[in-house]
């Protein structure tokens, strides 16, 4: 199940995203003249996903992960780059073709309370999906399709005649999933699928999603802020910061040996439920907050918060400059880092100092010792 992050396109690849960018212009007035720099929500993201696997995009608010999800389903048109689904380019599609394409790629939104039309019964919600894509010729055929799907998502026939507000949060999310799978898609884009749910219900939905993936051979793209969930569901992960992937690769490798300081800190704040581990642990807490995507920092966009850069800036032997965020290596402030492949692990890291050359250095990172303990 290892994702192939090499350039050549393989036949079993469900989706290819190449150098995709979305910049929102800041406009004012009648003639839409550009005022100020555009907001670079997504800035050159590439990945491919093998059929039947699960790819997770992890990031904080403002990282552009939700924009990325909307680019993939074609709700937004990219500024640059393209998405290929089954070898068909989304950019080349017209509006009507895009709508037909959506049968293959379905989006499940975060808050099931808001994502279902309050005036439609569950049955109508599901029928609409069939109607839009002309699935099933007879009434009976559609009816049996609805009944199959409602059982697949763990609901009963009584739920079909209810309005969304008569369902609990977990049930609503099941309906949203049913609406997505009823038109037999190949790819599901799940935007924070469980974060609006109660803790005890989250696990049910995660299990349901994993069951459905196996039964129906679906390809998943999970958009989330929760690395713990990722370790559970995903085969591969892209960690996003200010519109770019800072680290992308197999989930197992990234969660056991994170390279990028941002990934490392995201992983370190995941708490287990064991107080003995948690009380003893040194946390790698980032300072400050995510800068606004309308004013992305120069050089490496993470340099304003990067603990590694601060440590290296203080250390001797590197050319360093003084910034409001401390003494940092000048490369971090001025040069945009390139993606570097970590051999043997299949990960790509976008950092001047976390690449293969410095791989040995990473063993002494505070985090690695912590992770041993747990």
């Amino acid at each position: 199940m290892r994702p192939h992050l090499v350039e050549d396109e393989l036949p079993e690849t469900a989706i290819v995203v190449k150098d995709i960018s979305k910049h929102f212009p800041v406009t004012k007035g009648l003639f839409s003249r550009k005022a100020g720099k555009p907001i670079r929500a997504v800035d050159g993201v590439s990945f491919q996903i093998p059929r039947g696997s699960c790819f997770a995009v992890v990031g904080e608010s403002g990282s552009g992960k939700s924009t990325l999800a909307r680019l993939i389903v074609g709700l937004l048109r990219p500024t640059a780059g393209d998405v290929w689904i089954d070898g068909r380019s989304l950019c080349a599609c017209g509006e009507a073709e895009l709508r037909a394409m959506r049968r293959k790629v379905q989006l499940v939104l975060q808050d099931p309370r808001a994502s279902l039309d309050p005036r439609m019964r569950v049955r109508a919600v599901l029928e609409e999906a069939l109607h839009v894509h002309n699935i099933g010729t007879t009434r009976g055929e559609r009816q049996s399709r609805i009944e199959t799907v409602i059982r697949q998502v763990g609901l009963t026939f009584d739920h079909l005649d209810r309005y969304p507000n008569e369902l609990s949060g977990g049930q609503r999310q099941r309906v949203a999933i049913a609406r997505a799978v009823i038109c037999e898609p190949e790819i599901l884009v799940l935007d924070e699928p469980v974060s609006a749910l109660d803790v005890s219900v989250q696990a049910q939905i995660v299990n349901l999603l994993m069951d459905l993936q196996e039964q129906l051979g679906l390809t998943y793209i999970v958009i989330t802020h929760d690395l713990a969930l990722v370790r559970h569901m995903a085969d591969a992960v892209g960690v996003m910061y200010l519109g770019r992937f800072v680290e992308v690769g197999p989930a197992a490798a990234i969660s056991s040996r994170p390279r990028h300081p941002y990934t490392q800190s995201l992983l370190s704040v995941i708490a287990t439920t064991d107080p003995r581990i948690e009380k003893a642990r040194d946390l790698l807490i980032l300072e400050g907050m995510v800068p606004s995507p309308s004013s992305i920092p120069s050089g490496c966009s993470f340099h304003t918060r990067c603990p590694l850069a601060r440590r290296l800036g203080e250390a001797a032997g590197l050319e360093a400059v003084q910034t409001p965020f401390g003494r940092l290596p000048s490369g971090c402030v001025t040069e945009v880092p390139a993606q570097q492949a970590i051999p043997d692990e299949g990960t790509l890291v976008t950092c001047h100092f976390a690449g293969p050359r410095c791989a040995r250095d990473k063993n002494s990172h505070p985090l690695s010792s912590n992770r041993r303990k747990s």
Binding site: Y163, L229, T273, D274, P275, K279
Partner: protein, 663 residues
């Protein structure tokens, strides 16, 4: 959001449920339930009958002049008297109904048919079309509407059709604006995005998802606007610029009556009354429709007693002072203590118990975390301890105390004193916990100076010190900034600074980080922990995240359906849970999935019970793997008892201990 809001949302959702089922006759029923709606419907119905049948049921010819009978007062022959030409006023009022109301309906329909599609189109297309339309509306609104209508009449000439046109054109901007605004907000709803991503065409999205959802608001507006339109149209006729005599129309009749006001006031009485009543009817109907269609309106007009009731000193359910057991409270004063605390929403009318007998105590300097899902009553518990229960909630039994001060039965002055010096509260959503129109300094200094005689300079220097304590750089400058200029994490730091203003003994934090990004969450929690240690405060932390409990709390109370199912130190409770719910929560937590990918989580089946619909016996029984349908669990609610050094409310806690020991 918080579980405090849940009984409210439960009520709201039942109202929405009614709204969801509403179709045709259902709407009439919903309207007739409100006094306003019933009265409005009656008047509007009467108006409709008059407008249709008025000219036919008029007893006399409204145009027939009789110079022998001019300006007579009301009598048996002429109920409303006669006018200057001896015409029967009653017949003219009846006949005028069709013209007056017809003008109103005509103009509203005209404005609706033009304004709504324009507004929806502008909202959907956006960009230049939207801009041009909005500027056009701005220009139209640069004229007072009656003056604009006058100008149109001046161009087209004074008659009934032109009044319809004039008043209709004047109302177009109102419809276009409203339709645009509600379409925009509906288009922003996730369910619209959902149907677009499903593959619905724009036409289908507009007709199937947007229009049904904005129809109610437009209907409301049409009803309210009809009242305005009726009055302006008749106003034009009153000025002699609308319907021309001898055509009977209420406004025209009023205009004609002016000359006879001194001697024959009855001429002005009846047409005016009809106008005012019809307008009132449509206004009432509009208000009633608004309550049906606008959930915000339902919410704000709460039925549960008066707001600010403390201010006028009544209507607040008085809490009887509990009998204090001296021997019980005297020895060690716990910073926070509750005894069999029970809280219900709407205690007087329809009590929904959300906290059902909670007894807990926190030792000085320790952090107690209350864990639970939504609806467990955890936030209500915190608000009760913070003396900030919402209006519609009340303590119905048991007691709660802060540093030995019993919270029930305190005078408003005592409550204020307690809030100032003993209690600090950190809210979930820092953005709404700060007043948007006051500077951070004003709000912070207000907290510092309450009940003290500090000068403003002293308060300011303390405010600066507080901001330094919560690690906000450049505090002098920040004091003069407004909340919206800070990020979420910074706002939460300011809220914490405010909570610390007068050195409280206890800090109550209600999900202080769940609205924040993961990396910022930890910053805030570490800050809280540091402050708590350096100031020796006792902390009550409400959260849903077991990981945070493991990391930051000393003691933990697990709440389920308003009850404390397990309560003890974190080390004991989280390492060896003795309640099946605690164990299940721990196992379903994805943070544990250290061992590998794609392993199924141990999910808890079912969902937490609805507030106010807690099952008999043990509330967790329907979801419990452990009860195995044992009758005891269903019939009898387990009482908290001591097992392995912590309090557990489970009949079979020992079995669970044995089972996990053998594993």
């Amino acid at each position: 959001m918080t579980s405090t809001a849940e009984p409210g949302t439960a009520i709201m959702s039942s109202a929405r449920k009614a709204a969801g089922r509403r179709r045709g006759m259902g709407l009439l029923a919903a309207l007739a339930k409100q006094p306003k709606g019933l009265l409005g419907l009656t008047i509007v119905g009467l108006c409709t009958v008059l407008a249709i049948a008025g000219p036919w049921i008029a007893p006399l010819d409204p145009y027939a002049q009789n110079f022998a009978q001019t300006l007579k007062g009301p009598s048996a022959a002429h109920w409303f008297g006669t006018d200057q030409l001896g015409r029967d006023v009653f017949s003219r009022v009846l006949a005028g109904a069709r013209t007056s109301l017809g003008i109103g309906i005509g103009s509203v329909v005209f404005a609706l048919l033009i304004g709504v599609p324009l507004g929806m189109l502008a909202a959907y297309r956006g960009g230049r079309l939207d801009f041009l339309l909005m500027r056009g509306i701005d220009i139209m609104l640069s004229f007072p509407d009656i003056v604009f209508a006058l100008a149109i009449v001046a161009i087209l000439g004074a008659n009934t059709q032109n009044v319809i046109l004039a008043v209709g054109i004047v109302s177009v901007p109102v419809f276009a604006r409203t339709a645009r605004a509600v379409t925009q907000s509906t288009l922003a709803e996730p369910y619209v995005e959902g149907s677009v991503s499903l593959g619905c065409s724009p036409l289908r999205v507009m007709t199937r998802h947007v229009l049904p959802n904005i129809a109610g608001i437009l209907l409301t507006l049409a009803s309210l606007l009809f009242a305005t339109t009726l009055l302006s149209a008749s106003g034009l006729s009153f000025l002699g610029l609308g319907t021309q005599p001898p055509e009977p129309e209420w406004g025209t009749m009023l205009g004609e009556s002016r000359s006879y006001l001194r001697s024959h006031p009855h001429l002005a009485t009846f047409p005016g009354l009809c106008l005012a009543l019809s307008a009132l009817g449509f206004n009432l109907l509009g208000e009633a429709l608004r309550t049906v269609y606008d959930p915000a309106a339902v919410n704000s007009r709460s039925k549960f007693g008066s707001i600010f009731s403390d201010l006028i000193g009544r209507a607040r359910p008085t809490h009887p002072k509990p009998v204090r057991d001296r021997s019980d409270t005297a020895p060690a004063l716990k910073p926070i203590e509750t005894k069999d605390l029970r809280i219900a929403f709407l205690p007087s009318t329809n009590p929904i118990e959300v906290v059902r007998g909670i007894s807990l105590a926190v030792e000085k300097g320790r952090t107690l975390a209350i864990v639970g899902e939504s609806g467990s009553g955890k936030s209500t518990l915190l608000r009760a301890v913070a003396t900030l229960l919402p209006r519609q909630a009340g303590i119905i039994g048991g007691s709660a105390s802060i540093s030995g001060t019993e919270l029930r039965g305190l005078s408003p002055g005592e409550v204020q004193e307690l809030r100032r010096r003993k209690i600090g509260v950190v809210f979930q959503d820092a953005a709404s916990a700060l007043n948007p129109v006051l500077t951070v300094g004003q709000q912070l200094e207000e907290a510092i100076r309450q009940g003290t005689s500090l000068s403003s300079a002293e308060a300011r220097s303390r405010a600066i010190a507080l901001l330094q304590d919560v690690k906000i750089a450049d505090p002098e400058r920040r004091l003069d900034m407004y909340p919206h200029q800070f990020s979420g994490g910074m706002k939460q730091r300011i809220v914490i600074a405010m909570a610390l203003a007068q050195g409280p003994d206890v800090l109550l934090a209600d999900e202080p980080t769940s609205a924040l990004d993961v990396t910022v969450q930890q910053q805030i929690l570490v800050l809280l922990r540091e402050l708590q240690h350096s100031r020796g405060m006792t902390m009550l932390l409400v959260t849903h995240d077991l990981g945070l409990v493991a990391r930051y709390a000393d003691d933990v109370g697990v709440m389920y359906a308003g009850e404390l199912v397990e309560f003890g130190t974190v080390d004991e409770v989280l390492v060896t849970p003795t309640h099946p719910y605690t164990l299940a929560l721990k196992q379903s937590s994805p943070g544990l999935s250290e061992h590998g990918n794609r392993i199924r989580l141990q999910a808890i089946s079912g969902e937490p019970p609805f507030v106010g619909r807690v099952p008999e016996g043990c509330p967790f029984e329907p979801r419990c793997h452990f009860s195995r349908n044992r009758g005891h669990c269903r019939s009898e609610s387990p009482k908290p008892r001591l097992v392995l050094g912590r309090k557990v409310a489970c009949h079979f806690a020992e079995e669970l201990v044995d089972a996990s020991a053998s594993r």
